[in-house]
Amino acid sequence: MAQIIGQSTRQFFIGSLEKPHMTEVLVEADRIERQYWRDLWRFRELFFFLVWRDLLVRYKQTVVGVSWSLIRPFLTMVVLTVVFGKLGKMPADGLPYPLLVFCGMLPWQFFSTAITESGNSLVSNANMISKVYFPRLVITVSSVMTSFVDFLISAIFLVALMMWYRFIPPIQVLCLPFLVMLAVGASLGVGLWIAALMVEYRDFRFIVPFIVQFGLYLSPVGFQSSVVPPRFRLLYSLNPMVGIIDGFRWSLLGGRAPIYRQGLVISVIEVASLIVSGIWYFRRTERTFADVI
């Protein structure tokens, strides 16, 4: 439980240009760590290097390369459209069903890959953790960011899809950045928890695929939440992704029904508490990562 207090960090940024011995690090058992956030800033470049590495590595030795991040959501969209739209005959409110599905899939796929990747991030970088010092938060946050890049690529596909259907998004589209941030926040909050828990309890290696698998059907990805009976709507909204996915659909497609405000508020509260508690738990367990992993 050691900590680092007081240090003039300028030396770290400017390197050897300044005269040496400016930096002092004090590591002490049982103290609050003020140094941590400065270190995080100091290692900001590593953060981008890790994102860059994950992106580079992902499609090495594949034939179609980056196209996979388009093919995957496209095929899922086709399947969900057929299952829910054609076979299940879910209401589409006059919108093209593929568009409806894709607007739900965009945040959901981001969330599911982000929690899977970030959940495994610490364990799969165990070697780095046991041999080099840097704030471990860098690893987990960077893996969320890697998934975010995929999200952006999929978003291009959505634009193409909208053009295909000659669909012009309503004015609410201006709220989209906020909803994207919310989705990033949800992924980060859950990701931090899972990553930190995974270090000690590898059970999460089995739990996460379940969350991802069931979540696809429990969240309004293939259908709209308006099909949920009104008396269960609030209960249904306890899933933080419900508010986010509804919000995405509302801002991108409009639709007749106004946004379900309670659901969105619940999501915002949940995301905020997930991030705060996630960082807290991560920081609390971080100091023993190297010993436990």
Binding site: E24, V25, V27, F49, L56, N127, Y133, F134, D291
Partner: protein, 441 residues
């Protein structure tokens, strides 16, 4: 900060406790487990977790205090499990101490391993950037030093090949090159990183020595006391997690060898005849205790004994053996010389002159008999170990010798070829050139 900047590193009462998991005692069987899990799942889970991880506390490091000044080169030695690696991890902030505190002044870099974070799928070029960033270099810094790094690694032509296609030698070369271009004020190195072929090892150690010459603070953890003696002025000896000795490297190393020798010989006593071998020391021609020799060096074997009962006409046998069996021996049974008697404590020394051994690991064996005793007093067995170091290329050896021929023999006596054209070539294993500046004696 003012009064502390004198020290690069200041450690105060640092301790690190680990909890070691223990095996679960007994299982009541599957049926019972399922039953209790169904009845009270929560408490069952908790109990199971506790059982699974029944912990025993273990202090890997305790009450370690030391002050290291700027520009000091400190060697940390100790046996396996003495706490060297833990100290290293605590100092490099990979893990946090359970108690105590430490203060670090200056840009610190630690190398516990080369190539941390190397990704096999990425090319050499990409890995240089990644690894540099992991070690704490900024992008601008890496860009600036990139050419230098590549040149040092000598693998320029494979820079755009994925690292997974590299030979292990190339991999280590590239990895070390990145590490070698870190520019810290305080460097913490684990000697295990000096891996690879012997010429590369030399390069690594030379680099570490150059840090020292540049006035940097270096903490050098080593399993090899000889390396500590040549590189460091100061030695810290860890024993069972405690700081056992701290002082001049020469003295510490001397005592450390002594300690090892005594421990190795603990079982070498014969109560019936009242003889115990206290320790067997190896020294070089200058009388320094040593476990690392070069081909052509003298090897002095010093046997310290304690004879509680008088033993008439004892017979000593010493032998040196390599991986492929015995190399040479000094056996009183063969040469006929022997002391008249042994009584009390004393020393017997044998000097093997200009030992013509190839660079490899060797062991020294000792056995004791007596003229009028039928069975052996001390059974012939290994009592000490040493390494012959050096690069064969420096003795004029070339080609595939390193890998194949080396294992066919250990002893090379001086010889001379007379070739069909009438010319002669003389080969001997005596050391002419210094092996490494800062590393040779």
């Amino acid at each position: 900060m003012s009064e502390t900047t004198e020290f690069a590193i200041s450690i105060e009462n640092v301790g690190k406790r680990y909890s070691i998991g223990r095996q679960r005692s007994s299982d009541d069987g599957m049926r019972h487990a399922i039953e209790s899990a169904l009845r009270a799942p929560r408490s069952w889970l908790r109990a199971r977790h506790q059982q699974n991880t029944k912990k025993v506390d273990f202090w890997a490091l305790r009450n370690v205090s030391a002050q290291i000044k700027h520009g000091e080169i400190v060697g940390i030695i100790g046996r396996n499990g003495a706490g060297k690696s833990t100290l290293l991890k605590v100092l490099s902030r990979i893990t946090v101490p359970t108690e105590g505190r430490m203060r670090i002044n200056g840009r610190i870099a630690s190398l516990l391993e080369v190539g941390t974070g190397f990704h096999p799928e990425l090319t050499g070029r990409e890995n240089v950037f990644l690894n540099g960033a992991i070690l704490g270099m900024s992008r601008a810094e890496i860009v600036r030093k990139f050419d230098e790094i590549v040149e040092f690694s000598e693998i320029e032509e494979f820079l755009d090949t994925p690292v997974k296609r590299y030979s292990s030698g190339m991999y280590v070369r590239l990895a070390f090159s990145v590490a070698a271009h870190l520019d810290p004020e305080i460097l913490i190195v684990d000697e295990v990183l000096a891996v690879g072929d012997s010429s590369f090892q030399k390069k690594c150690l030379a680099k570490i020595a150059s840090y020292a010459q540049a006035g940097r603070t270096v903490l050098f953890v080593s399993h090899n006391p000889d390396a500590v003696r040549t590189l460091c002025q100061r030695g810290i000896w860890l024993k069972n997690g405690h700081l056992y000795r701290d002082g001049k490297a020469d003295e510490i190393i001397e005592d450390y060898f002594n300690d090892i020798a005594i421990e190795k010989c603990q079982s070498l006593s014969n109560t019936e005849h009242g003889l115990s071998i206290q320790k067997v020391l190896l020294r070089n021609e200058r009388g320094q205790e040593c476990s690392r020799f070069f081909p052509g060096d003298d090897l002095v074997v010093e046997v310290h004994y304690d004879a509680q009962k008088r033993i008439e006409n004892p017979i000593f046998a010493l032998g040196v053996a390599g991986k492929n069996g015995p190399c040479f021996t000094s056996n009183m049974l063969l040469d006929g010389h022997r002391p008249r008697f042994l009584e009390g404590t004393g020393t017997l020394t044998c000097t093997f002159k200009s030992v013509p051994l190839l660079p490899q690991d060797y062991s020294v064996k000792l056995g004791v008999k007596a003229e009028n005793v039928i069975d052996t007093i001390v059974a012939y067995q290994e009592v000490a170990y040493f390494t012959v170091a050096g690069d064969l290329a420096e003795y004029g050896y070339k080609g595939a010798f390193e890998t194949h021929a080396r294992h066919s023999t250990a002893v090379v006596v001086p010889y001379e070829w007379r070739l069909p054209d009438g010319s002669t070539v003389a080969v001997s294993l005596n050391r002419q050139a210094p092996v490494l500046s800062g590393w040779e004696r």
